[in-house]
Symmetry: C2
Amino acid sequence: MVEVKFEQISPADFFYRNRDIAGFSSPARSIYMSIRELVENSLDACEIGKILPEISVELSSEGEVGNSGTEIYRLIVRDNGIGVDGDYIPKAFGTVLYGSKYGFKQSRGTFGVGGTMALLYGQITTNRAFKIISSRGGQKIYEYEMMIDIVNNTPRIINKKAQDNKNGWRGTIIDFTLEADYSTSKSKIIEYLKMTALINPHASISFIDPKGRFYFFGRVTDQVPEPPKEAKPHPQGVDSETVSRIASDTRARTVLRMIIEEFQRVGGKTALEILKNANIDPDTKPSELTHEQIASLVSAMRSYQGFRAPDTGSLSPVGVSFLEAGVKSLLKPDFYHIVQRPPTSYSGIPFIVEVAIAWGGAIEPSEEIHLWRFANKIPLLYDERADVSWKVVSERIDWAAYKVPKIAPLSVITSICSPKIPYKTVGKEAVADRPEIERELTLAIRECARHLRLYLSKLEKREAAKKRLNIYAKYLPKIARFSSELADQKPPDIMPLLKRLGITDDMLAEAAKLESEEEQLPQTPAA
Amino acid sequence: MVEVKFEQISPADFFYRNRDIAGFSSPARSIYMSIRELVENSLDACEIGKILPEISVELSSEGEVGNSGTEIYRLIVRDNGIGVDGDYIPKAFGTVLYGSKYGFKQSRGTFGVGGTMALLYGQITTNRAFKIISSRGGQKIYEYEMMIDIVNNTPRIINKKAQDNKNGWRGTIIDFTLEADYSTSKSKIIEYLKMTALINPHASISFIDPKGRFYFFGRVTDQVPEPPKEAKPHPQGVDSETVSRIASDTRARTVLRMIIEEFQRVGGKTALEILKNANIDPDTKPSELTHEQIASLVSAMRSYQGFRAPDTGSLSPVGVSFLEAGVKSLLKPDFYHIVQRPPTSYSGIPFIVEVAIAWGGAIEPSEEIHLWRFANKIPLLYDERADVSWKVVSERIDWAAYKVPKIAPLSVITSICSPKIPYKTVGKEAVADRPEIERELTLAIRECARHLRLYLSKLEKREAAKKRLNIYAKYLPKIARFSSELADQKPPDIMPLLKRLGITDDMLAEAAKLESEEEQLPQTPAA
């Protein structure tokens, strides 16, 4: 008989063995991922404290690795975020799947994986410890040198100290080495920082690259966005696991109170109706709900039609006026239209889709539509083709029906915000095609496209009218002149007629000019 | 000061919260994923025991879910694989990241996630227990009814029994319910099973769909492939974590012996050279290697140029003759070429790339090249655009240089086998663009494309020659006749000349026929 050995591996080991699924698949991509994960953690650490972010990224070379084309880099990311308490630093940076409490709250970093994964990648490629310096602005600044024990998913502290925080500094500094390929990833990194600054106008982001070049993306507004609030789950589309957990954690004494208190947008009447549909006594203790009861409660919630839309308080969309400013500054389009869809939800998780369509201006005509994707105010630059936005833009929309020619100067910008973006990969590059999100994107893009069609129709009509009028402007005066000459009469004043047709003096002048040029043409060879 | 709560979550909880990254993003995709994960586990369970696989998949409806368009399905997958020992069943099916020992061995299921994820998905959508029945062919058949405690990542046994195994049955039956959308995913499921059977000709796979339709993909060969062997890591491109683990686990007494025994393809001379480059005493005890020494050992291994290619014994590629049979039966092409690249490695992990290019026949001409992807003998049907093969086919190859027109009847089939395929997602749909794999694919496709160019050139020449000869065939006899009439001579026998030019009797007959038709044409209107 074949012997089969079984084993359990730790989450750190899982990501170590499968780093491609966290986006660390090549030396080029890994440096991009490291910068982005740490910058996003920094933005979150500022947002939660209503702090205007000051983030600096510094990358310097420590020499080439053999003849592999890659180099060892030192990466330092500094922020002025809320900082991490000394006691928490080891686990927060040295353990995978450990992080600030998950919850129904919109944030950029979502997996408890990204930041630690960057450090883990640095460790396995350079075998050096990493350094974390942080303070919450209190009396001490904590400094740790650590490595990750991958097999056990625990931090291994090599050195630690606490210094007096004389100047009341607050923030976090992450300092580590990694093997990477900057030259290949440079353009993506710069684009990432630029787009991130664009969509986070309250942030100041600087970057020093290995050649000492300094990039600065300054703050545009001093207004700090409201930090997204933690939201209760919306009852439409929750699953039995969520309801089971709520039932065992709730302080509510009855299932009726539980539904009212632990879910958003549910009043007493609705709760009673749901419980009646689920055939559950409203006075049942939540902890005493059977599996079958939870299953029927879930299906009663899912099939109930009368819920109010999810609470938007927990969502922090980009906003129409801000998208407008971004689109204008980036694309300088001849036409644009922006749609913010009302909030809705998938699997109990609220989300808002915003879409902008832009035409002309700085947009290069192309056979392929230019797609820009944002999710929770971060740009998504890789794996475009795997994203739900690409699917909608390329498969769901019949662009010809909106008068869009095959080669067109067209950009589509999509932005999704949600306490949980359903990414396909831990590398957070492509959003999964959840049917609810696909639907919202389709509706929003269609609405934009309808406005685009109106614009293009008008343009078309204007062109056609202009052509027609140009002909009138050219020939009516002639006809008037010829016919009056034939009749031996003084030419009539055709100006009122021309005016009535909408022909302006400019057009007449242009027609006359064109005419005289045309008449001169045949003479040229003879001259 | 902002209060921040931290928490550690279990791997099961991680995948529960982020099921999109395991491919369970929609009711349609989830049923596809469930079937494929379980079928792949079954194929692995047969391969490891050198068993001819008999796999049956049965899907039946248990009624609609509200008005959501989805249904509750019961999915039963049966195999005749090696089975799972009773004691291991709970953890093997009720724990995430627990599975048959990971290792450098080629297999279809790679994450210790897929099968459990399908059961977890069924549990959270239907809140029902799942049933596992298994026997290794011994005296007992074990039957468990279980659920997964997601918070703790542990199995929760609801019922278990052991029955006498009177008939010596061996295999595994998985029986559970899940909420899904079969009608949308039907075509992908059938395509998946068809392609899987094609690439695993020794397997017999049957499928009964919810309407009772029976699909059968029968066994084509009785030859069981050699089960892939576990391989030692190849020293080129290992990282410090791997070397650290080896150093602490090895039974070797010296670092010299460790390098020879624990890595593949390293002899004494090479090992000594590496240690000299790393500046490490060959007699050092492995357990006493410092971090710095491990780091320099790793870089000495990486920059060493003299290693032999990785051992292929651990790899089980599809094989040229089998790819040929598959390509012929599926595409019936006018031309094909198959390349199997020599084994090489990325990050110490060996892999082999095989590529087939096919032209014409049953292949529809299209602006887009038809790409078929396989990895470790399973078809990859989703997320094509995110795959390294797509990147190579669409970006790395200048098809025009190989005489391929814009619209062409062209298929590219890629197959990668490796003890560890670097998937981008836990859903195993897209292979990451590891530079080494990208390079091998590019080389293989280029080689195929060169043969295609030769074929297309020949085709072109033959066409041109045929055109030219057609002209000769048509005019030479005439010229001969006219000139002899002018000279009042008997027409010469031009047949030897025509023969020498390569003009056949058929061509002459065709030319004569065309001629007489052409001559009749002008008369038609007058008639």
